[in-house]
């Protein structure tokens, strides 16, 4: 049982929940950027949580299934077709041997996910099937898919079944201005109060430099507080003594073009960070594309924890409804 890649789309990779536990030697977690879409996809096709799926960006892949199975497309709003007939998104669909899944033009969002009953069967690498293309490890041969690749499908689906459907009220919408919650802190003291206020007041535009490593934005200039440079940091105002970067942290090298680090990001470095996007809101960033707008809404720790709890509760509720 396998999937033949006829056309890989722009950059389609195998992803799961990520490679956790190796941050201290420099492995970022990798894993699905939109974890909600990824988890719901697995629930739809009756997989155990954590089965590997495919993540595409902007352009969907064209895939042929060598055997009958059950699939689901979640994430971005993009027309999907099986043998030319449009299929519903956020719903499990039966495909026959020889069926071909293809995609039309993206309507909203950025990243469609394809879940397959049994999951994508690639070797575990440091505990995960996620692709980390920056150093070429994990996933399918450490890289994005190419035409002609043949992906094995696992055989341990718990309960594959077509016709499972996510309640339309639970399907995320992808507004052209995404709002993500930000816990201000880390080295925020390096920025002037005006600049910090400007950061959360500005509608930031996603630049073309936006990928699994991080998203770079444009929209305002930020200023640093003058200081006597601490030893080890380096003299540039944006420099700090090199430290760990939380996943989702925001840095502003040179005061322009803030960068939000995502799942394939560097694990540490020497640029001042001004805060961290709440983990579950990385899902929303993952569904923005170049030219879209993003606002960073400040929250305190209680706010961050409650955003997290609500999103996890919603996912649990959807999983139970689909079980």
């Amino acid at each position: 049982m396998s999937i033949l890649v006829r056309d890989p789309g722009l950059e389609t990779t195998v992803q799961d929940t990520g490679r956790l536990g190796y941050y201290s030697i420099g492995f970022p977690p990798s894993g699905a950027l939109d974890s909600f879409a990824y988890h719901v996809g697995n629930a739809l096709v009756g997989n155990e949580p954590g089965a590997a799926a495919l993540e595409a960006v902007y352009l969907g892949p064209t895939l042929e299934f060598t055997q009958a199975t059950v699939i689901a497309v979640t994430g971005a709003d993009i027309p999907a077709f099986v043998d030319g007939a449009e299929i519903p998104l956020w719903e499990s669909v039966a495909v026959s041997a020889g069926s071909v899944l293809s995609f039309g033009q993206l309507r909203a969002g950025a990243r469609p996910y394809v879940a397959v009953a049994g999951g994508i069967d690639v070797p575990l690498y440091y505990g995960s099937r996620s692709t980390y293309t920056l150093v070429g490890i994990g996933g399918f041969q450490g890289r994005a898919l190419r035409a002609g690749d043949e992906l094995a499908i696992g055989s341990d689906a718990r309960d594959p079944r077509a016709g499972r459907r996510v309640d339309p009220d639970d399907v995320p919408v992808h507004p052209s201005t995404a709002e993500v919650h930000l816990l201000v802190g880390l080295h925020s003291y390096r920025l002037t109060e005006d600049s910090l206020a400007r950061f959360t007041d500005t509608e930031w535009k996603v630049t073309p430099d936006a990928n699994r490593v991080g998203y770079r934005f444009r929209g305002a200039e930020l200023e640093f507080v003058p200081r006597e440079q601490p030893f080890g940091a380096g003299s540039d105002p944006a420099n700090v003594t090199d430290c760990g970067y939380p996943v989702g942290s925001v840095q502003v090298p040179g005061g322009v073009e803030p960068i939000v680090l995502l799942q394939d990001a560097v694990t540490g470095g020497g640029y001042a960070t001004l805060g961290t996007v709440v983990s579950v809101d990385r899902d929303r960033l993952a569904q923005t594309k170049t030219g879209d707008k993003t606002r960073f809404v400040p929250v305190d720790l209680d706010g961050a924890l409650s955003v997290r709890r609500d999103r996890h509760a919603a996912l649990d509720r959807i999983r139970s409804a689909l079980a």
Binding site: S24, G232, S235, V247
Partner: protein
């Protein structure tokens, strides 16, 4: 050197979103601060507190990934403060089982030179090279003297990360002899594999090619990341990275002939780092840096 106590500030505890706690012992790097951080993170690992998912020690700070569904990040901070109270100031007793490793390095090499010349518009000094700039701002009268200083004394790996296997190396010399340079004004989009770079007070080797903001000074012929564990150093340790937090690295200058020779051994799959195991005592080092370095080099090279 012993007067270099951690008196800069109070430790700063902060939250990196809902899943990380960031602890900055000092905004400035120093060996005493680093050793305190080392003592705290080792104790934290021993205590195995439920909800503590990952501990990432770094230079003058450390980071903990927490599962907030099991342990409220504020409760974790209270635990960390308790550990700091118990461990802090007792780093005199600390000894670290470590290795001293011989790492060949070619400074002022042609490969990083070619790349750095492409990114002058992102550099503090668009007219020179990174080495010339580093020599000038550190008060060296010639680039050659600067190069000599970079390779004169060993370095301690005080942090791992950025990408898998990259060591942040802090030179084991008194502060007045430490080199310090800024990172690029804007990071480069390109850095050659195995480039030897310098940023802040830290030397690094880039394990793979990619973006980077450190000044480019040289190139290491031997890999420090081996994703397929092809070389025996990686296969035998069942790891894709070679360096470990706490390693002592002696960067040894090589010329192009020796560089090419190491590359040939790597290609043949026979390359091995030479290293020796030893006990490192931070307090003994702080009392006599040059004597400790000489003794460690004696262990390595005999």
């Amino acid at each position: 050197m012993t007067a270099e106590a951690n008196t800069d500030t109070e430790t700063r505890y902060d939250f990196g979103g809902d899943e990380f706690v960031y602890v900055e012992l000092s905004p400035a790097m120093s060996l005493p601060v680093h050793f305190t951080s080392l003592g705290i993170t080792r104790r934290l690992a021993e205590e195995a507190i439920p909800g503590v998912e990952e501990i990432a020690p770094s230079n003058a700070s450390y980071m903990v990934r927490v599962d907030p569904d099991r342990l409220d990040p504020r409760d974790l901070v209270r635990e960390l403060q308790r550990i700091e109270d118990e461990v802090g100031g007792h780093s005199d007793d600390l000894t670290v089982a470590t290795r001293i490793i011989d790492v060949p390095i070619m400074l002022n090499d042609p490969w990083t030179h070619e790349v750095l010349m492409k990114f002058r518009d992102r550099h503090q000094d668009p007219t020179g090279t990174d080495l010339d700039y580093g020599a000038r701002i550190n008060g060296y009268s010639s680039t050659e003297d600067f190069i000599d200083a970079l390779a004169a004394s060993p370095y301690l790996v005080t942090m791992m990360g950025f990408v898998p296997g990259l060591p942040w190396c802090f030179q084991l010399v008194p502060r007045e002899r430490q080199v310090e340079v800024p990172k690029y004004v804007r990071p480069r989009t390109e850095t050659p594999e195995r480039a030897f770079g310098f940023g802040g007070a830290f030397a690094v080797i880039y394990p793979v090619k990619g973006a980077g903001g450190y000044q480019l000074f040289g190139s290491a012929p031997a890999p420090i990341f081996d994703g397929e564990q092809r070389l025996p150093d990686f296969a035998e340790n069942d790891s894709v990275v070679f360096f470990k937090h706490g390693d002592v690295i002696n960067y040894r200058r090589v010329d192009q002939t020796e560089y090419d020779d190491v590359r040939a051994q790597v290609d043949a799959g026979t390359w091995r780092y030479s290293y020796k195991e030893l006990e490192f005592s931070p307090s003994r080092f702080l009392a006599d840096p040059d004597g400790t370095n000489a003794a460690m080099k004696e262990v390595l090279y005999g």
